[in-house]
C-alpha cells in the first residue's frame, strides 16, 4: 500500500470534513473517503424538552441554515400537537424560509465557490479565496457583500434574528407584519431580485462558459434525485409540498413526508459520523460502486431543479427552460449544482416578492390555538443542502419522547464520496498530484455545498 493524502480540513465548505486519498504502490488511487468528523447528539438531548421549545434549540444544528431547522421543527411540533397554523402564520414562515435561501446561495456561490472560478483552481491558496476575490474583482466583491448583508438585515429587521431565529412558533408566527415592514421588505426583495438576475448572467458568461467544458466530467456520477414539489402541479417548492424521488432514467414516485421511512433509509459506515441516506424503496440496497451504484440519489439544488415539473415564478421558469434545453432532465453533471443554485436564487427572490404582495400578509391572526398533547409529527422543508426531515413524538404533557432527523447534507454524503473517488481517480495518475489537482478534488465536493 502506498501513501495516504489527507486533505484536511476540507475548506470553503460549511461543515467539518476531511478527504483521505489512499494511493497504491504505483501512485494511483486505490480508495478514497470523505470522513464526516462531527457528531453532537441533538436527537437525544431534545428528549424530555417541551416540544414548543425545540424549534429554538435545533436551529443550532446549523448556523448557516438555522431557519430550515427552526421551521422543519415547528412543522413537526404542529403535527405532534395536531395544530394547523393560520394562513398568515404559514405565509410568514414561508417568506422567512425563502429569504434565508437568498443569503445562503449568495454566500455559497460568491464567497465559497467563486474563488475557484474567478482566481482559477490552480491559484495559490493564499489568494484563492474571498480575500483574493476582493483584490481581483473589487466591485463585484463589494456588491456581493452588500447583497448578502441586505438579505440578512431584512430577516433580522422583521424577525429579530437572522441567525438562530425564534419567530416561528408552533401554530404559526410570533408577530404579525405591519405595513411599514412590508414596504421595506418589498423594496429590499426587488433589489435582491435584480442582483440574482445579474448573478446568473455573470455565472453563465464568466464562469460556466469558461469552465463547464473543462470540468464537465469533474466528479461526474449518475444517480437519482430527491426534492420537494407542489402537491397539485409539481412545481418547485421549498417550504411545503410532497417529495419526489426520481431515478436516473427520469421515472419517479411522489410521496408525503410522513411516509419517509417507507422510501428512505440510512446506511451507517464505520468511518464517518454522518449517516448515508439512500432510496430504500428501490429495493436494490446501498452501494457506492461508481459503475453500478445502488440506492444512490442526490438532493440539494440540482436535485430540486431536476425533479420539479416547472417553477411557478417567471424569471426562474425562463432560466429553468434554458437549463433543460442545454442539459436535459435529469442533468447529472456535478458542477451544475452551481447553475441550479442560481436558478433557485431567482426563485427565492421572486417568491419572497409574491408573498409580500399577497394582500392578507399583514393580517393579525398569526398563531393558532395550541394545546400540548401526545402525538407524532413529521416536519419537512427543503434546506439549501437538501430535504430536511424532523420527526418527533410527544407525551401527554407535550414533551419530546423521541426524535429522528434526516438533515439535508446527509442525502449527499454517499454521492460526494463517489464524486471524490471519481475526481481523484481521474486526476491523480502514477503518483503525480499537486495542490491544484487536490483542490479540483475538493471542487467536486464544494459543488454540493456540504
Amino acid at each position: 500500500m502506498g501513501r495516504v493524502l489527507n486533505i484536511a480540513p476540507v475548506s470553503r465548505i460549511e461543515g467539518h470534513a476531511k478527504i483521505a486519498i489512499h494511493l497504491d504502490d504505483d501512485g494511483n488511487v486505490a480508495e478514497t473517503f470523505l470522513h464526516v468528523q462531527s457528531l453532537r447528539g441533538f436527537e437525544k438531548f431534545i428528549e424530555g424538552r417541551p416540544a414548543e421549545e425545540v424549534p429554538r434549540i435545533v436551529n443550532r444544528i446549523c448556523g448557516i441554515c438555522p431557519w430550515m431547522h427552526h421551521l422543519a421543527s415547528n412543522k413537526a411540533v404542529d403535527g405532534a400537537f395536531g395544530v394547523t397554523p393560520t394562513p398568515v402564520g404559514y405565509k410568514l414562515r414561508e417568506m422567512c424560509q425563502v429569504m434565508a435561501h437568498i443569503s445562503d446561495k449568495i454566500l455559497h456561490f460568491f464567497f465559497l465557490a467563486a474563488p475557484d472560478f474567478v482566481l482559477g483552481p490552480d491559484a495559490d491558496y493564499s489568494v484563492r479565496n474571498v480575500m483574493g476575490l476582493v483584490k481581483a474583482a473589487p466591485e463585484l466583491a463589494r456588491q456581493v457583500v452588500r447583497m448578502r448583508q441586505l438579505g440578512q438585515k431584512m430577516l433580522e429587521g422583521f424577525a429579530g434574528r437572522a441567525i438562530h431565529p425564534v419567530a416561528g412558533v408552533v401554530g404559526g408566527f410570533a408577530k404579525p407584519m405591519i405595513e411599514e415592514e412590508r414596504k421595506e421588505l418589498l423594496c429590499g426583495a426587488r433589489e435582491l431580485l435584480d442582483f440574482s438576475r445579474y448573478a446568473l448572467d455573470f455565472a453563465i458568461t464568466d464562469v460556466f462558459a469558461k469552465y463547464m467544458d473543462a470540468f464537465s466530467d469533474l466528479g461526474g456520477i449518475k444517480t437519482g434525485f430527491l426534492g420537494m414539489v407542489d402537491r397539485e402541479d409539481g412545481s418547485l417548492r421549498l417550504y411545503d409540498g410532497k417529495l419526489r424521488l426520481m431515478k436516473h432514467d427520469a421515472s419517479f414516485v411522489d410521496f408525503e413526508g410522513d411516509d419517509y421511512t417507507e422510501y428512505l433509509a440510512e446506511h451507517v459506515v464505520p468511518w464517518g459520523y454522518s449517516k448515508m441516506v439512500y432510496a430504500k424503496s428501490w429495493d436494490e440496497g446501498f452501494d457506492m460502486t461508481l459503475t453500478a451504484p445502488r440506492g444512490i440519489y442526490r438532493a440539494n439544488t440540482l436535485a430540486r431543479i431536476n425533479v420539479c415539473d416547472k417553477i411557478s415564478t417567471p424569471g426562474a421558469q425562463a432560466a429553468l427552460e434554458e437549463f433543460r434545453s442545454l442539459f436535459g432532465r435529469p442533468a447529472q453533471q456535478t458542477l451544475l449544482y452551481h447553475y441550479a443554485r442560481l436558478i433557485e436564487l431567482i426563485y427565492s427572490c421572486e417568491r419572497t416578492i409574491e408573498i409580500l404582495e399577497w394582500p392578507e400578509i399583514t393580517g393579525s391572526d398569526v398563531r393558532a390555538k395550541v394545546v400540548p398533547k401526545a402525538g407524532r409529527g413529521v416536519g419537512l422543508v427543503e434546506a439549501p443542502r437538501g430535504t430536511l426531515i424532523h420527526d418527533y413524538t410527544t407525551d401527554e404533557n407535550g414533551c419530546i419522547t423521541s426524535a429522528n432527523m434526516i438533515v439535508g447534507t446527509t442525502h449527499n454524503i454517499a454521492p460526494m464520496n463517489m464524486s471524490v473517488k471519481r475526481a481523484a481517480s481521474a486526476l491523480i495518475k502514477n503518483g503525480v498530484y499537486s495542490e491544484g489537482i487536490l483542490n479540483q478534488v475538493e471542487m467536486a465536493v464544494r459543488a454540493y455545498d456540504p
Binding site: N6, A8, S11, R12, I13, E14, G15, H16, H35, L39, R40, G41, E43, K44, F45, P50, E52, E53, R56, R60, C62, G63, P66, F111, Y125, S126, V130, M131, K135, A141, R142, R146, R148, E156, G160, R161, I163, V166, V169, G171, A174, K175, I178, Y260, T261, A265, H267, V268, P270, W271, G272, Y273, K275, V366, R367, V371, D391, N404, E435, N439
Partner: protein
C-alpha cells in the same frame, strides 16, 4: 499587511462564522487590510497536513490573533484547540459554545454512550449499525468550554455573537486598546414596560403569543416575565442587540432563553433564574424542564446526567 489571524471551529454550527460575515460593509477592509487571515477553514484553503496532505502532524501557522468557536467535544477539537493556543499570541473564545458550552453541552445532561448508540439505531437506520469508530475522532467524556482545556485570553459569548461586537473586539485588539463591550444584562437593556410584580404566579409555556400592539415599539409592551412567560433576561448577559436597541428575541416578541450565557461572571443561570422568579412572585416549580434553563451554559460541570433512580419494589 494586516495583523495575522487564524480562525478555527470546534464543535460548532458555523453560526459564529456567519455572524462574522454579517459584519457587513466593514467586513471587506477587516479581512483584507486590518487582518491577514492565515488559517480559516470556512474562508480559505490552508490545510493541517500541508497543502498536498502529506504531513503527519496537524499544523496551523503562527498568528497574532486566534479565534476559536465551538466547544470541545472530541479528541480532534482538543488537538486543534491546543495547536491554536500554541500558535496564537492572543486567543479569543468566540460564541457561547466556546465560552459556556452552548446548546451542544446539553449532551452533558445525557448518558453519552447510550445516546450515541440510540442515534445509530433509529426508525430509519439500517439494522445492525454500530457507532462509527474508524478515522473519526473519539468523543471526550463530556462537552467542555474552551477555557476548561487551555488558557483563553478574551471571551465574547453569544449564540451567535453580535457582529458589531465581533468587529469592535478585533479592531480594538489591532489598535491596541480595550474593546468596548456591554456588561449589562438583557433585562437592563430591554425597553419593555415594567410595572412591578408578575400578573400570574405560574410560568406560562410559550404556546400562546405575548400580548403587544404590533404598531407600537417594544417600549409599549409589558415585560414578558411580568406577563407570566419565562424570560431569562434578568440573568443573561446583554449584547445581542450590539449594546443599543432592543434585545434580539424581544424584538421578535419572544422571551429570552439566555443565549449569551450568565451576566454575572461565573454566574449560574439556573440558580440565578430561580431567585429571579421567586422575587417576581412566580413559583419556580411551575417551570417545565427546569434543567433546560442551563441550555446555553452546561459546560464547566454545571449540567450532568441525572442519577438513575433505583426501582423500588
Amino acid at each position: 499587511m494586516g495583523v495575522t489571524a487564524a480562525m478555527e471551529w470546534l464543535g460548532s454550527c458555523s453560526g459564529c462564522e456567519i455572524a462574522f460575515l454579517n459584519i457587513g460593509e466593514d467586513l471587506v477592509p477587516l479581512i483584507t487590510e486590518t487582518l491577514d487571515l492565515v488559517h480559516a477553514p470556512l474562508l480559505m484553503d490552508h490545510k493541517y497536513f500541508g497543502q498536498c496532505g502529506e504531513g503527519v502532524t496537524l499544523e496551523i501557522p503562527d498568528a497574532v490573533i486566534g479565534i476559536v468557536t465551538g466547544g470541545v467535544n472530541n479528541r480532534e477539537h482538543l488537538t486543534v484547540l491546543r495547536q491554536m493556543r500554541k500558535k496564537c499570541r492572543l486567543l479569543i473564545a468566540l460564541g457561547t459554545c466556546a465560552t459556556h458550552g452552548g446548546i451542544p453541552a446539553l449532551m452533558n445532561g445525557q448518558d453519552q454512550q447510550a445516546s450515541w448508540q440510540a442515534i445509530f439505531k433509529t426508525v430509519s437506520t439500517d439494522p445492525g449499525a454500530e457507532i462509527p469508530e474508524v478515522e473519526v475522532p473519539p468523543p471526550l467524556d463530556r462537552v467542555y468550554a474552551c477555557d476548561e482545556k487551555v488558557k483563553i485570553d478574551m471571551q465574547l459569548p453569544g449564540c451567535p455573537p453580535n457582529p458589531e461586537l465581533i468587529a469592535e473586539l478585533l479592531v480594538a485588539i489591532v489598535e491596541g486598546r480595550s474593546p468596548v463591550l456591554p456588561g449589562k444584562s438583557v433585562c437592563d437593556t430591554c425597553p419593555a414596560r415594567r410595572e412591578g410584580r408578575s400578573v400570574v404566579g405560574k410560568v406560562k409555556r410559550f404556546i400562546e403569543n405575548v400580548e403587544f400592539d404590533p404598531g407600537e415599539p417594544v417600549s409599549g409592551m409589558r415585560c414578558l416575565l411580568e406577563q407570566g412567560f419565562m424570560c431569562m433576561g434578568p440573568v443573561t448577559a446583554g449584547g445581542c442587540n450590539g449594546g443599543e436597541g432592543v434585545p434580539a428575541c424581544i424584538s421578535a416578541r419572544v422571551p429570552c432563553r439566555g443565549c449569551f450565557g450568565p451576566v454575572r461572571k461565573n454566574g449560574n443561570q439556573l440558580l440565578d433564574m430561580m431567585n429571579g422568579l421567586a422575587s417576581n412572585g412566580i413559583d419556580f416549580k411551575s417551570v417545565v424542564d427546569r434543567r433546560s434553563i442551563l441550555r446555553f451554559s452546561g459546560a464547566h460541570g454545571r449540567l450532568r446526567p441525572l442519577k438513575k433512580r433505583v426501582a423500588k419494589e
